[in-house]
């Protein structure tokens, strides 16, 4: 009898020994309450912290929207040419912009370009120094690598919840969500690029009396630049992949339209905006790839 009751009441193999219903509810409630408390106490302060960022975002978006469209097309084509030195890409870019504008997507496209540019910029500004720090110490690398893995693998909806609880809905939380997802490649590849720098060249810098700062700026970063650029390319692609998700928490633009199309089953709207996002992705990808290639031109060492 003793054994029987033990098996059924305490260790059933068909039913998982769960925490009691009330206990579980209390646990979840406890976590929720704790975070809500945190939000109540600090939320406003944290939001205030992001006000300059919000202002910048709004300013940048307004700037892009206020620029006359022909000028905008010229500027964007010039940037594409500066990056890729390729006329086919310039013509392609102009075509995409003209068609998108003609099909009524000009404003959304500018909004999307604006948030992508700003989030890429933020990823670069924080990601590269972080990657450099990571390359300097194996311990930092051991700690940061799993964190980056988590940032890339945890479904973004999971961290959308605390972000929304803390910052509400709007551009800043959207930007945060995009950056969390998009920053890992640039950090990872900066770290990798610096670690892969030719030991012989580094030794030469040492032999001529370079300080670690001089080594960083005259050898490590320049030689790692093609790799860093591969990271920036991936970061841009991942940021673009997030525009629809970011639309869920109030980021306007092409992503928002796609979301509207899904909710209302507007096939054409979804298709148009989807293709617009894809076109931006292709242009960004090609431009940054060509740019990376040009950086690499002299990097391969040839002996003999």
């Amino acid at each position: 009898m003793g054994i029987r009751s033990f098996v059924t009441t305490e260790l059933s193999l068909t039913e998982f020994p769960e925490l009691g219903r009330t206990d579980l509810r209390n646990l979840k409630k406890g976590i929720d309450e704790a975070f809500k408390g945190f939000t109540r106490n600090y939320g406003e302060g944290i939001e205030d912290l992001f006000i300059p960022l919000l202002r910048f975002l709004v300013w940048f978006e307004k700037l892009m929207l206020a620029t006359p469209w022909p000028l905008m097309i010229v500027i964007l084509c010039a940037l594409v040419y500066a990056g890729a030195r390729n006329w086919v890409l310039v013509v392609g870019t102009a075509t995409v912009l003209l068609v998108a504008g003609y099909l009524g997507m000009w404003e959304d496209m500018m909004k999307t370009l604006s948030i992508i540019s700003v989030s890429t910029l933020i990823c670069i500004v924080f990601g590269i120094p972080f990657g450099i720090m990571m390359s300097k110490s194996n311990r930092t690398q051991a700690i940061v690598t799993p964190i980056l893995d988590i940032m890339q693998t945890v479904p973004s909806f999971v961290y959308l919840i605390p972000i929304v609880m803390l910052l509400g809905i709007g551009r800043v939380p959207g930007l945060m969500a995009v950056c969390i997802y998009a920053i890992p490649p640039v950090v990872r590849l900066t770290n990798l690029g610096i670690r892969l720098v030719d030991k012989d060249v580094l030794e030469a810098a040492d032999a001529f009396g370079a300080s670690s700062r001089q080594k960083l700026f005259t050898v490590q970063i320049p030689l790692a630049l093609p790799t860093i650029f591969a990271g920036i390319n991936q970061t841009i692609m991942m940021a673009l992949a997030m525009v629809v998700v970011a639309a869920l928490i109030g980021v306007q633009g092409l992503g928002g339209e796609v979301l509207k199309a899904v909710n209302n089953q507007y096939l054409a709207l979804g298709l148009f905006n989807g293709i617009a996002i894809l076109s931006i992705a292709i242009v960004f990808d090609r431009v940054s790839q060509q740019f990376g290639k040009r950086l690499q031109k002299h990097s391969e060492v040839i002996h003999g």
Binding site: D198, E203, A205, D206, F208, G209, S211, G304
Partner: protein, 342 residues
């Protein structure tokens, strides 16, 4: 002229997490293999004592893995010793602070590497001025000085090319120009010509000797090639398993190899190119010969003079033209062929 000799004293290097711990064992005769097998440490250098003369070329020679690169890297402390001293102008390089060491590397030393180690993203001229840039010297002046040295090594017209557009020989000229632009007293060359084709290598050796005639730097030149060592070295130290097994002038080593290992090394050498006339001349005879040759000439030049002139005897004269001895064709040829006993 300042004394720019380098004095290496009692230098030991044991690679591994705790090299100091095994110094005593090594000093008491533990071998490289035993140290590695028992304690997992690698004996890099063992009790090195070399006085590298000021304004001369000191060659360090040895086979691959004998510790040459380890040795030369102690002079600018790219590798720190386990124990020992490297004295230069009264200061021990091994005891310098980080800042002093950086200044020492910037102003007193320059290095040329086996694999060139150029900065691939920079043009030739930007490579050559790298040392000056690190010193914080004005861009314009740095570029002027770099261009001067690029021209000296025969690279004018290539200033704006990138290293990977140049052949190996030209890349190493850039390496040499980069070192010379630094205007340092010490020039460290780690197998600088080993990666080059034989013909280009001979050219580079000639260029180095020509430059040295006027620059008088203290050159430390690493090679695994005896011919190169004999051609360039005012003094030669031979390394084996991290220890110096013989040092002296090329002639001393060729004439009196310290052991069978070195004897084996030197037996194929062109002795006519190494041995000087002073070694074999006889002081007694005087005035009978009609041709003369300067003291310090190599035997191959003596042989050429004698056969060209059809004489069998030549006077040896000092730099004032005074006869100090004489040398015969017979003794010249005898000294040039390898003695049978080796």
């Amino acid at each position: 002229m300042a004394d720019n000799s380098i004095d290496v004293k009692g230098l030991y290097k044991i690679f591994g997490s705790n090299g100091k711990k095994y110094i005593e064992a090594v000093q008491n005769g533990m071998s490289k293999d035993e140290l590695n097998a028992k304690h997992g440490h690698v004996l890099g250098l063992k009790n090195i004592n070399i006085t590298m003369p000021s304004a001369k070329i000191q060659v360090i020679m040895g086979l691959s893995g004998s510790g040459k690169s380890t040795m030369i890297r102690h002079i600018n402390r790219l590798i720190a010793p386990t124990v020992g001293e490297v004295m230069f102008q009264g200061v021990d390089v091994c005891k310098m602070s980080e800042t002093d060491l950086r200044e020492f590397r910037r102003h007193k030393t320059a290095m040329v590497f086996q694999k060139f180690a150029l900065l691939p993203h920079r043009t030739v001229v930007k490579n050559a001025l790298y040392g000056l840039e690190l010193q914080g010297i004005d861009k314009k002046e740095a570029e002027e000085r770099a261009r001067h040295w690029l021209q000296r090594v025969g690279l004018d017209g290539f200033e704006d090319r990138y290293p990977n557009e140049l052949s190996g020989g030209m890349q190493q000229r850039v390496g040499l120009a980069r070192a010379l632009t630094n205007d340092a007293d010490i020039l460290l060359m780690d197998e600088a010509f080993s990666a080059l084709d034989p013909l280009i290598r001979t050219d580079m050796q000639a260029m180095l000797l020509e430059l040295q005639e006027e620059l008088h730097k203290t050159v430390v030149f690493i090679t695994h090639d005896l011919d190169e060592a004999l051609r360039l070295g005012d003094r030669i130290a031979i390394l084996r398993d991290g220890a110096v097994i013989q040092q002296g002038t090329g002639q001393e080593i060729v004439l009196n190899p310290a052991d069978a290992y070195i004897a084996d090394f030197v037996k194929e050498v062109n002795r006519g190119r190494v041995i000087r006339v002073d070694t074999i001349m006889e002081t007694a005879e005087n005035g009978t010969a009609t041709v003369s040759i300067p003291s310090g000439s190599r035997l191959e030049n003596v042989a050429k003079l004698l056969s060209d002139s059809g004489e069998t005897l030549a006077n040896v004269v000092d730099d004032k033209g005074i006869t100090i001895g004489a040398v015969s064709m017979r003794s010249t040829i005898e000294a040039m062929v390898t003695p049978a006993k080796h």
